[in-house]
């Protein structure tokens, strides 16, 4: 794992008293903190190795950017920061943000009041809330200590769970925390060769799994995300190794769900990557334009990938909730033999997994996606063989 603390920390005046800034100052005494008043405008320009702590003025809670063509899990995003310095070669964030450095939001009180208001006004709704959409949830945790605020906060919420998604092993702060079984620590996993070549600054698979195991010893629930899955010569053997390692290391009952998502990208991401790595192979292959504007592997390849994963995972745990991230009903049906609509929809499937494995939100009757997903979801498939055209 190659990550280091920020070299300089730029503070907006409104957040100088934020708890995360206090933690940063305490944990990084050697780092220079720069507020706008103390420096010239010319110097107030951060670089890649810096961190900005800002006051966020928008909505902290967002729905996953779903599309009407593919099924969304209904994950609620808690937008606490942007960018990531793990620099995975394939990362969508490269084409997403203009600013060069990591950015976190210091107005934690505003963030928590927004969450509080949402949870209180929808007591019958189960919220699966995660911080890992626009950055790695734990990348800065050793210095910001944000988990010490979020984990105990969610521990007391009957209708919510928190998911911390990471590729790091920065879990030490989680150990003493009161989580009440309401926090899922999740890891993104990949084939060993992909981790080596494409996620070179992230923790190794073994380290991620050992960290995950430690978390289970501290009572945390886990999730794993095989996303992005790549199709390359020898993919079956490579992914089998990771799956074997996962189930050899982690107690199955502690895993709430596993997600699968094949590599997909906006066309501009390919251009971005090829500028830096002209011989990069992974975006070359049977990629086709999808209705949502992203390039995806041709559906038969996606089905092949998912079928393999589903059958392998089922060998280890037939009851484990496995789902596809942003996939069409037809691909679901081919990979799983059922359509998410047959099980009440994908958000309901995941809510059920949370209720059954974590015993959280058992009284909730609604899914957060019904509140937050503004875009229509794909309809349930109809059985074409019995339908008539006229």
């Amino acid at each position: 794992m190659i990550t280091s603390p920020p070299k300089r920390i730029f503070l907006q005046p409104e957040v100088v008293n934020s708890p995360v800034v206090e933690n940063l100052k305490k944990n990084l005494p050697q780092v220079r903190f720069i507020t706008k008043q103390e420096t010239s405008a010319k110097e107030f320009v951060p670089s890649r190795t810096d961190l900005q702590v800002l006051k966020f003025k928008g909505r902290f809670i967002r729905s996953c950017p779903a599309t009407k063509y593919y099924h969304c899990c209904g994950y609620v995003i808690l937008h606490f920061g942007e960018r990531c310095t793990i620099d995975c070669t394939y990362c969508i964030l490269q084409a997403y943000w203009n600013q060069p450095c990591l950015r976190i939001f210091g107005n934690i009180d505003d963030m928590l009041s927004e969450v509080e208001e949402m949870l209180n006004s929808h007591r019958n709704t189960l919220f699966r809330i995660g911080t890992g959409e626009f950055t790695d949830s734990l990348l800065l945790d050793p210095w910001t200590g944000l988990s010490e605020i979020l984990v105990p906060y969610f521990a007391g919420k009957d209708n919510a769970i928190l998911e911390l998604k990471t590729k790091t092993v920065f879990i030490e702060r989680l150990k003493p925390l009161w989580h009440g079984g309401h926090t899922i620590v999740s890891w993104s996993l990949n084939a060993p060769n992909i981790v080596k070549s494409e996620e070179s600054k992230a923790a190794s698979i073994s380290d991620r799994l050992l960290a995950a195991k430690k978390c289970t010893e501290w009572g945390y629930f886990l999730a794993f995300h095989f996303d992005p899955i790549f199709y390359f010569p020898g993919w079956k053997e490579s992914y089998s190794m990771t799956l074997q390692q996962l189930f050899d290391t982690i107690p199955r009952d502690k895993i709430v769900y596993i997600s699968l998502g094949s590599f997909r990208f906006m066309p501009e991401l390919k251009r971005e990557i090829l500028k830096k790595r002209p011989r990069w192979k992974l975006a070359s292959g049977e990629f086709v334009m999808s209705p949502d504007g992203k390039m995806r592997y041709f559906r038969d390849i996606r089905i092949e990938l998912y079928k393999f994963f589903v059958s392998r995972i089922r060998e280890f745990d037939p009851t484990l909730c496995v789902y596809l991230c942003m996939e069409s009903g037809k691909v679901w049906k081919k990979a799983f033999g059922f359509h998410p609509g047959d099980k009440g929809g994908l958000p309901a499937m995941l809510d059920r997994a949370v209720k059954e494995r974590m015993q959280v939100g058992t009284k909730c009757t609604q899914s957060a996606s019904s509140l937050l997903l503004t875009k229509p979801q794909p309809e349930n498939s109809c059985d074409f063989s019995t339908s008539k055209i006229i």
Binding site: P291, F298, K334
Partner: protein
């Protein structure tokens, strides 16, 4: 502009300087125009320097006049106080008011400006005026074009700017092979770009050079003496089949399904682009209601629905 003078100068006292000669490849065309007109209508631009009088603008006219032993050429003389950079900018601005620059000229201008200005400054001050997209890598691309301009010039008739800008990043052998191929195919910009992208993807994936792909896998097709449209289509099909084997297989299945159904020619079935998404389409053209009824009956047939459902799934 008081210091400017207009004089008739003898060609022998005017010195050519490669720095200002940004359009040498257009000389032949200009000579044809001058032949038609029968003389120089607009004066040349020259700059007075301590080393003599340097030609700034009008290289083609100058040569044309020299070849015809014309002794008096009309020239606007710029004073010694005008810097070389200023002179270049004036020349570029003046031409840009009349016509657009071609890719070689753009590259030449940028490379000349680079002797005085930083890439960022050139991008900021001149790209828009020269109609150069402010894309990353563009500056380096133009310098590469200058470097290879002699080779590129032979192909500018058939190669589009977009394709040139992409191909100069290939290794020299691959670039030359691509030039030769496109000379034979004579296809549009979009098709050139599609072929280039397919070759690049296959090259990355198979770890083969574009040269190998063009000269070993495709040469039989493009070097053939047949119709260039058919050759282009064959090249595209071959490359697609290589890069998209599974998609090609599915497309083949779909075509055999359609053939197998023996549908009347008035019924067309289209799959969603790349079989992605749910937008399957059937179009029926008819002239009588009874005709439509019979087509709908055909489509409502149980066996047809069953076969279609298999293809859709």
């Amino acid at each position: 502009m008081k210091e400017l003078t207009l004089e008739y100068l003898h060609p022998d006292i005017i010195k050519e300087d490669d720095f200002f000669n940004i359009s040498s490849h257009r000389m032949e065309n200009t000579h044809k125009v001058l032949d038609e007109i029968g003389g120089i209508l607009s004066p040349l631009w020259v700059l007075k320097t301590s080393n003599g009088i340097i030609l700034v603008d009008g290289y083609s006219r100058f040569r044309w006049a020299k070849n015809r032993n014309i002794s008096d050429i009309p020239c606007v003389i710029f004073p010694e106080s005008t810097s070389t950079l200023d002179m270049l900018i004036k020349k570029v601005t003046s031409i840009s008011l009349v016509r657009s620059f071609d890719i070689i000229e753009k590259a030449n201008i940028v490379s000349r400006l680079y002797r005085f200005l930083s890439p960022a400054e050139i991008k900021e001050r001149f790209f828009e005026r020269l109609k150069i997209p402010k894309k990353p890598r563009m500056f380096k691309t133009l310098l590469k074009i200058v470097d290879m301009s002699e080779e590129i010039l032979k192909y500018t008739e058939v190669l589009r700017d977009k394709a040139i800008m992409r191909l100069v990043w290939w290794d020299r052998n691959s670039m030359r092979a691509a030039f030769d191929m496109f000379l034979e195919l004579k296809c549009s910009t979009n098709v050139q770009m599609e072929i280039i992208e397919l070759i690049e993807d296959i090259s990355r994936l198979r770890e083969e050079t574009p040269y190998f792909i063009i000269n070993h896998k495709l040469k039989k097709i493009w070097a053939d003496k047949g119709d260039f449209r058919l050759k282009t289509q064959k090249i595209r099909d071959t490359l697609k089949k290589e890069l998209f084997p599974k998609l090609s297989e599915r497309e083949k299945c779909f075509s055999s399904f359609i053939k197998g159904q023996k549908l009347p020619g008035n019924i067309k079935i289209e799959h969603p682009p790349f079989f992605e998404g749910d937008l399957w389409k059937i179009s029926i053209s008819f002239s009588e209601a009874s005709e439509l009824e019979s087509y709908l009956e055909k489509l409502n047939d149980h066996h047809f629905i069953k076969a279609l459902s298999k293809i859709i799934d």
